[in-house]
Symmetry: C2
C-alpha cells in the first residue's frame, strides 16, 4: 500500500490538481490546468448563476480528482488516497469554506470541503486553507521546516502572504484567517494597500512592492541613466528589476536594499511576537538570492532585540517553485493525519 | 481535599508570594514582601557573591512558601499544593531559568525551578514565565479569557508586556521568550527604547510612553496653560496625566488620544497576525477607562482589515490590580495540570 494525498490549488485564473506522496514528490499533475470560474463583464452576480458556476466547478474538480487517482493507480497498484488538501483564496480551515473575493464570480461563500466530500464520500479527509498557510505546511511536512516547531513562512508574489507555525501547527486563530503579516503596518501612513489601508508590509515587500519602490526612487533621485527609467509602470516587472540589479544598475540595487530593509524590520517584529526558529522566504523575488536575502538579513539583525541576534535562521524555502502550491495544499492531509493519530 | 497553587512574583524590588485556589482567590499573601536581591554600588558582580545572593534568595523564598502553606493549612485541613508558578524577569518556561537582567545582581542565569524543587521535592510542578505571560495565563484560567482559545493580553506599566494565547495555550516560541509586542516597531525611527532600538511600541504605549507623549505635545504645541506644563519630566506620572484629562485638560486628553491611536494600530497588526477573539488590556493606565479605551478602539477598528471590523473584543482585564502578579503566576500550575491530564 502506498499512501498519497491530493493537492489542489485554486488560483485566480487556473486551478491545479496533483497527486503527492508522503515525501512531497508530485506523482501526477492534471494538464492543462482547470480554468477557475471568472467574473463576467455583465453583472451576473445573481445567486442562480453563481450556484451554477459553483456546481460545475466542483463537478470539474471531482472528475479531475478521479482521473488523477486512476492515472496514478495504473503505476501504483495498491494506492491509498489519504485525503484532499486545498489551497484557495480566503479559505477557512475551520468551516471548509472559500470566502467571497473580488476576483471570483461566487456571490456567497463556497463550502468547498462539504461539496467535494459529497461527491467523493470515500475520501475521509478534505481540508482547505489559504495558499500561504498551505505553503507553510508544505515547508513543515516536506521542506526545510521538517522537525521544526516554530517558524514563519513568507510568500512573496503580487502580495505578501504568511503562514505561522507555532508549537508544530499552523496558527489559524479564532476565525481561521490568522497570519496576515502582509497587512501589518510597515510604514505608518505609507503606500496605499489593496485592502484600503496605508503602509502595509505587502505594499513594500512583494513583487509589486519592489516595482513601486523603483518608481519612488526614480521620483526621489536624479536617475535617468538607469535602464529602469526607460520602462513604464505597467511594463515593469520585479524580474526586470532583478536583471538590472545583477548588471549593477544602482537604482535596481537600491530597490532591493530598500525592500530588504523594510522586510527585515517587519520580520524582527515577527520574531518578537513569536520567537521562531527560522523564517523561510518563498516566491518569485527570492530568485534574486543574496540581492534580497543580504539586506533582509542585515535589517533583521539590526532590528532584533539583542537576545535574538545571530540566532534566527533566514532561509530560502525548500519548496519547488513550480509545484509548491499543489504540494503545499497536499500537506494539509498529512498534518491532519498526524493530528488524528 | 482542596487544591491550591503557590504564586510567586519576582519583581525588581520586591518578591511576593501567595496561595491561590482554582478560582483565582488569593487565600494568603506573605507580608511584608520579600526583598529581591539588589545590585550593589561596588562592582561585586563576582561569581561567588552572585551565588551567595542567589542561594540566600532561594532559601528565603522556600522558607516563605513553607510558612504560607502552613498558615493556609490551619484553616483548610486537607490542603493539597498542586504546584508553584513563578513570574520573573526574562524567565524561560522551557528550562526554568531567570535570565540575566540589568537590575538583578546575578551574574549567571538562575535555575529557579531546579533550585526550588531541590528544596521542596514534595511539590511536583514548579514552572516559571515572565510577568506578562503569567498575566495572560491568569486571564485564561481565572479571568475574562476563560473559555477563550485565542486572545492577546497587553500589560501596560513602565513598559508594555504581552502574552499571546493561541489554541488555548501560551505562545512561548522556540526560545521561550515569545510575545514581546512592546518591542515591535510602532513608529519607524521613533523614540529611543530601553533595548537600544527606536520607535518600539512600549516607548509610546505604557505609563512612561504617555508621559513622553505629554512632553512631545508640549514641545509641539503652544500649551503653556496646561497644568502639565508646570510639572518637570522627572515629576510627571501617568496618573497626573489621567487626573488632568479627567478635568478636561486638552493636552492630557490629546496625550491619551495619541497613545490610543498608536496602540490601536499596533493591536490591528496583532489581530492580523493571530486572529484573536479578544484583546485584554491590563495595568495602571487602564484605570483611565474610556479615556484610553475609546481612542484605542477607534484606532483598532480603523486599522483592521474590513473582515475583522466590529468582531474583536477590546476588554479590560478581569484580574485585580493588587494581586494580579501572584494570581497570574499561580495560573501556570493549573495550566500545567491541564496539560498533564
Amino acid at each position: 500500500m502506498r499512501q498519497v494525498a491530493i493537492g489542489i490549488d485554486i488560483g485566480g485564473t487556473n486551478t491545479s490538481i496533483g497527486v503527492v506522496d508522503r515525501e512531497g514528490n508530485l506523482l501526477f499533475e492534471t494538464k492543462p490546468q482547470l480554468p477557475t470560474p471568472q467574473k463576467r463583464e455583465n453583472p451576473d452576480a445573481r445567486q442562480d448563476v453563481s450556484n451554477q458556476l459553483r456546481d460545475s466547478f466542483i463537478e470539474l474538480i471531482t472528475a479531475e480528482i478521479r482521473h488523477a487517482i486512476q492515472t496514478v493507480g495504473k503505476s501504483i497498484p495498491e494506492l491509498e488516497v489519504a485525503g484532499i488538501g486545498i489551497g484557495a483564496p480566503f479559505a477557512n480551515y475551520y468551516d471548509g469554506t472559500m470566502g467571497i473575493t473580488a476576483n471570483l464570480p461566487f456571490t456567497d461563500v463556497v463550502h468547498l470541503t462539504g461539496l467535494i466530500q459529497a461527491k467523493l464520500p470515500e475520501i475521509a479527509i478534505v481540508k482547505v486553507t489559504n495558499d500561504a498557510n498551505a505553503a507553510a505546511l508544505g515547508e513543515l511536512i516536506y521542506g526545510g521546516g521538517r522537525g521544526m516547531r516554530n517558524f514563519v513562512m513568507i510568500t512573496l508574489g503580487t502580495g505578501l502572504g504568511t503562514g505561522l507555525i507555532v508549537n508544530g501547527d499552523l496558527v489559524y486563530g479564532q476565525d481561521g484567517f490568522a497570519g496576515e503579516l502582509g497587512h501589518a503596518t510597515a510604514v505608518p501612513d505609507g503606500r496605499d494597500c489593496g485592502c484600503g489601508a496605508k503602509g502595509h508590509l505587502e505594499t513594500y515587500c512583494s513583487a509589486t512592492g519592489i516595482k513601486r519602490t523603483v518608481f519612488e526612487l526614480l521620483a526621489q533621485h536624479l536617475n535617468s541613466e538607469s535602464r529602469l527609467a526607460k520602462i513604464s509602470y505597467n511594463d515593469l516587472t520585479a524580474k526586470m528589476v532583478y536583471d538590472a540589479a545583477v548588471e549593477g544598475d544602482p537604482l535596481a540595487l537600491e530597490a532591493f536594499s530598500y525592500t530588504g530593509k523594510i522586510l527585515g524590520r517587519s520580520l524582527a517584529d515577527a520574531v518578537h511576537y513569536l520567537s521562531p526558529e527560522a523564517i523561510f522566504l518563498f516566491g518569485g523575488p527570492t530568485a534574486a538570492g543574496e540581492l534580497l536575502f543580504k539586506p533582509v538579513r542585515e535589517s533583521l539583525e539590526h532590528y532584533l532585540l539583542p537576545f535574538y541576534r545571530n540566532k534566527i535562521k533566514l532561509l530560502p524555502s525548500e519548496l519547488k517553485a513550480g509545484s509548491a502550491a499543489i504540494v503545499g495544499a497536499s500537506a494539509l492531509v498529512w498534518k491532519e493525519l498526524d493530528k488524528i493519530q
